[in-house]
Each structure stands twice: as structure tokens, then as C-alpha cells.
């Protein structure tokens, strides 16, 4: 798989990362070599192999749906880059 500038543009849109067009050439080169490396896996026939979805032999635990904390609004807001009273502030979303 060769990764070109258009593909970089598409993936970076999906990942919500703006990529400087000056950097996208070297990024395309790096990703192409990485994909060449990981495509070694195609040498293996895995038609009859079950994918490994969990390394643990036991299923994930579930718990009762009980409130075990709360009243931490101020703590949660503590690190917000922009807030207004008890709200996170973001750029305008609706006209």
C-alpha cells in the first residue's frame, strides 16, 4: 500500500488533525514504509484462525449500575481550557 498526499488528507480529516501541506510529503513517505513493513502479515494464511479479542481467559466483569461518586463538578471543570461558571465553553456550533 502506497500512501499519497490525498490519502494523508483523507485520514487526517478522519483523525481531526490538520496537517501542514509542507509536512505531508515526508509523512506520506514514512507511512508508506511503515505499511510496507506491516504488510508482511500477508505472507501468512490466517483463514482458519480465530481473531484474538481478549488476552484474558475470563469475560469482562460487569457491576451493578450504582452511583458511587458524584458532586465532583468543580473537580471536572478544574482543568478545562475555557469555562463559564459551570460550563465548558466551545466555539459557536449553531448559527
Amino acid at each position: 500500500m502506497s500512501i499519497d498526499k490525498d490519502k494523508i488528507k483523507h485520514i487526517s480529516k478522519l483523525a481531526r488533525i490538520s496537517i501542514d501541506s509542507k509536512k505531508s510529503d515526508s509523512l506520506a513517505k514514512d507511512l508508506t514504509s511503515i505499511f510496507k513493513f506491516i504488510e508482511q502479515l500477508n505472507e501468512l494464511n490466517t483463514d482458519k484462525v480465530e481473531p484474538l479479542s481478549s488476552i484474558l481467559n475470563t469475560p469482562l466483569r460487569s457491576r451493578e449500575d450504582q452511583i458511587n461518586d458524584g458532586k465532583i463538578r468543580d473537580k471536572i471543570l478544574e482543568n478545562s481550557p475555557k469555562k463559564n461558571e459551570e460550563f465548558f465553553v466551545v466555539p459557536k456550533v449553531i448559527e
Binding site: A15, I17, I34, F37, L41, T46, I76, P91
Partner: protein, 485 residues
């Protein structure tokens, strides 16, 4: 400079227990040396007022029955520490102050340890040389301009330079064991699920594990005992009784079967590493172990598998950094989407962006089966390789790394050559197994090299015992010259 801080953790604990040194005196010795060792850049944050205040409190009413009584410790800056900056080595979290404590660090404080500071690491633990940190390169105390390995590079450097008596790191593909090998120290990656992941900045959740980094195997057993344990807050935490690794440590390994996998003899591996591996075999043989040749046929596919699975999970985990709830926010952008895109572009470094893009691509519509599903299938084959061999052997001996510590800048332009550092450590993460790196010798340049012992699931005691026996018979010495002072 005091001789006391050169000692192993277990010796320091003895001094405290015998009341030959107070916690506050000890804290001051470390603080003094940390202040003089800025050249190494191993600390991102220090919290010395807190350290002194806590050690004074300990000295007033010392609980000498705890595992780490009044011991000052620095930890990798990936563990959330309540009220103290936790950056993950990223501009994105440069000013992030957690409002809660990670379970693993909480366990250490419950055993009497006291926070000294937060240690440098590769950004979001993505790197093998500590060169991706937003806070700059860390220097390996073995030689100027040499990397300490990564991603727990600050931890390894600080430990080797006596800037903390022991420390903890995280290991997703080798991030504890590779820097331990590069600095002549001991590093253990526990079984997946033994140490809680709660409060650790997430990289790849099915691979991440926290573990101890220490100056000796005994120290490693003490630290593991302190940090491990079931935690309700981590859905993949294993429910089991706590083990007394340090009390049960023994050197008798007679009759143990040690496997030597032929696939770990890779092309272009320096002769010294092969020789060291042979030395390891003969030491264990002399101690009464049976050395058995084994095959792990899918070893060469471990790294390609890892570079699908880890970026895929990282792209999902790092989606949370959007500049809204915490972390860096860009001032540029006309709407919400542009704000997200600029925040993530300015807040993440190149390696992190590279991995998010790989992960996004392999999970994207039309490519999931070809990459992610394929990798999950190969991961199954890699795990099976180990499962089948652990019927025949009790532990596996391999080199920890394919080279000793390299120069700063030597591998930064070629991501693949950087990734190849983890060729011997990555299979263990994919299979969820425990493994320990023990210092075994020096190369021509005088740089340390380590050997790795891989164990069965939850068989930490066994690999600690083999490592302990090996350490006692290997006579490894790594005298540092303190050139940076």
C-alpha cells in the same frame, strides 16, 4: 555525595527500619542530587515541598511494617498524581493537574512511599529512545549523548543515576525492559491485568501494563508486591490473592526447564549479544536448570502485528484530546471542527500524529479486515506459540534488545529502525505474559546489555527467582562516573 543513595532499595529500607537514617534525611539526599543532575533531564516535575512535609510526618510516627517505609520515589509522568502535574511527555497535557490518583501510585503511598517527582518519558509512551518527549531528550548516565531507551527513559536514567531508589514505568511494547537493558537496571513487565491501569494515561489498552524498575531483582520483587493487586476500577484487573514476592524469593532453580527460542537469533545481531545469551545459558545450566531449544515460529510477525494493534488502540484512546474538557486548546480556528483539528495538530508531536494516522487508517471503512482483523488473527498465532511451549518449559531466556544504547539522533529519521528496538520485547505484550530484563554484561563500548526471562501467565514469582539466581552468579557491575555533576 553520600554513599547511601547508591544503595539498593532493600538496603535503604533496612537502614530506615534499623533507624540508622530518617525519611527526611534520605529525602534531602535525593533532592540534593536531583538538583545537581539537571543535565540528564530525567525529571519533568519535582514536588520537594510535598516530599519533605510527608517525610517529616513519617518520621513523627514511623510505620516500619509497611513495604516502603518513608521511601522517597519518583514515578513515570504517565501516572496520574492527585494535585501534581501529569504531562505524559506531551504539550497536550503540559498544564494538566489530575484531580485523582492512579491506583498503582496510591498502592505505593499506602505502603509508605513518598512522591519525589515525575519522570520524563516519550510522548504518550510512544517511542524507544525518549526523543519524542515534548520536554526534551533524556540523557543516559552511562555516557553523554546516549539515549536511555524508552518510553520509560526518564525512569531508567533517574534510577541508574541514583536520583530515586526505585521507580515505576509502563510497558506497552518494551517500554520498561528496553530502557532497563540500556541503563544496566532491572525492569519487569507483569502479566496483563496484574497491576491496575486505572489513572494511567492510556496508550494501547490491551497491551499497557505498569511495572517496577529497580537496581536489583530483590528490589523488583518488593516494588511489584507493593504495586500489584485487584482493582475494581479496571475492568481487566485480575481477581486474585496478593502474593509475597519478596518473602518467597529463592535462588534454587534446580530442574527448571529454560527454553531458548531459535527465532530470537536475528540477522545482524551484534556478536556480543549472542555471546551474552550463551553466557546466560551456561550460568543457568550450572545452577541446575535444563536448557531446551524451542521454536516460536511467528516471532517475526510480532512487530508488524504490534504496529497495527497499538496504533489502532491509540487512535481510539487519544480521540479524547479535543481541547474542550482538559489539556491544550488552540486559539486558531473559526468553528468547533477547526478548533479540534488545530488543537490536535499543535498539541501532539510528530510520532504521536504518525501513530494516530496509522491507527485511524487501519480501522477505517474498507480496511478493517485487511489490517486490524488480520493482526488480531496473527496475535492469536503468537499467543499460541507461547502456550504450546509453556507445556514443555518453565521460562524462556532471550536477549532483551538487539543492541546497546545508541546515540541521540541516530535513529530519529527512520521510524522502522527505531521500531526494531522492540523486536524481542513486543511478543510478550501481544501474549499478555510477564517478562523481566536483568543486566547481564557490558559490550565493547562498556554499555550495559540485558537478558530477558519470559514466564507463564501470573508466574512472576518464577521469573523473579530465575532472575535472582542469575543475578547472584553473573557479577554484573556498572560503575557510573557521575560525569554530569
Amino acid at each position: 555525595m553520600s554513599e547511601i543513595i547508591k544503595k539498593n532499595l532493600s538496603e535503604i529500607i533496612d537502614l530506615i527500619k534499623k533507624k540508622e537514617i530518617k525519611s527526611e534525611e534520605l529525602a534531602n539526599l535525593y533532592i540534593d542530587k536531583v538538583n545537581k543532575s539537571k543535565k540528564l533531564n530525567s525529571y519533568i516535575t519535582t514536588c520537594f515541598e510535598h516530599t519533605i512535609q510527608q517525610s517529616k510526618e513519617f518520621d513523627k510516627k514511623p510505620n516500619l511494617n509497611s513495604l516502603l517505609p518513608g521511601v522517597p520515589l519518583a514515578v513515570k509522568d504517565l501516572f496520574c498524581t492527585n494535585g501534581f502535574k501529569t504531562t505524559a511527555g506531551s504539550k497536550m497535557l503540559e498544564n494538566f493537574i489530575p484531580q485523582y490518583e492512579s491506583t498503582v501510585t496510591e498502592n505505593l503511598w499506602k505502603e509508605g512511599a513518598i512522591l519525589l517527582g515525575k519522570l520524563n518519558c516519550d510522548e504518550y509512551a510512544m517511542g524507544s529512545s525518549n526523543e519524542t518527549s515534548y520536554f526534551g531528550n533524556v540523557i543516559n548516565p552511562i555516557a553523554k549523548d546516549t539515549v536511555p531507551g524508552g518510553s520509560s527513559g526518564g525512569s531508567a536514567s533517574a534510577l541508574a543515576a541514583d536520583l530515586t531508589p526505585a521507580t515505576i514505568g509502563t510497558d506497552t511494547g518494551g517500554s520498561i525492559r528496553q530502557p532497563a537493558s540500556f541503563t544496566g537496571t532491572v525492569g519487569l513487565k507483569p502479566t496483563y491485568g496484574l497491576c491496575s491501569r486505572w489513572g494511567i494515561v492510556a496508550f494501547a489498552s490491551s497491551l499497557d501494563q505498569a511495572g517496577p524498575m529497580t537496581k536489583s531483582v530483590k528490589d523488583c520483587s518488593i516494588m511489584l508486591e507493593a504495586m500489584a493487586g485487584f482493582d475494581n476500577k479496571d475492568s481487566t484487573s485480575i481477581e486474585k490473592k496478593k502474593e509475597n514476592y519478596s518473602k518467597n524469593l529463592k535462588t534454587n532453580i534446580k530442574g527448571l526447564k529454560i527454553g531458548i527460542p531459535k527465532e530470537y537469533r536475528v540477522e545482524n545481531m551484534p556478536k556480543e549479544i549472542d555471546e551474552l545469551w550463551n553466557k546466560g545459558k551456561s550460568i543457568l545450566k550450572d545452577l541446575g536448570a535444563d536448557i531446551i531449544d524451542i521454536s516460536l515460529p511467528h516471532t517475526k510477525y510480532a512487530l508488524p502485528t504490534y504496529y497495527i494493534v497499538a496504533p489502532a488502540e491509540a487512535s481510539s484512546n487519544l480521540a479524547r484530546y479535543d481541547g474542550v474538557k482538559y489539556g491544550y486548546r488552540s486559539s486558531k480556528g473559526n468553528d468547533l471542527i477547526e478548533m479540534y483539528e488545530n488543537t490536535r495538530s499543535e498539541g501532539f508531536g510528530d510520532e504521536v500524529k504518525r501513530r494516530i494516522l496509522i491507527g485511524t487508517y487501519v480501522l477505517s471503512s474498507g480496511y478493517y479486515d485487511a489490517y486490524y482483523l488480520k493482526a488480531q488473527k496473527v496475535r492469536q498465532l503468537i499467543k499460541k506459540d507461547f502456550d504450546e511451549n509453556f507445556g514443555k518449559v518453565d521460562a524462556i531466556l532471550t536477549p532483551s534488545t538487539p543492541s546497546s544504547a545508541f546515540k541521540i539522533g541516530e535513529k530519529t529519521n527512520d521510524p522502522i529502525s527505531m521500531y526494531l528496538n522492540d523486536i524481542f520485547t513486543v511478543p510478550v505484550n501481544l501474549a499478555g505474559l510477564p517478562a523481566i530484563s536483568v543486566p547481564a554484561g557490558l559490550d565493547k563500548k562498556g554499555y550495559p546489555l540485558g537478558l530477558q526471562l519470559i514466564g507463564k501467565t501470573l508466574d512472576e514469582q518464577n521469573i523473579l527467582n530465575v532472575a535472582y539466581a542469575f543475578e547472584k552468579n553473573c557479577n554484573f557491575k556498572n560503575e557510573l562516573k557521575n560525569w554530569w555533576l
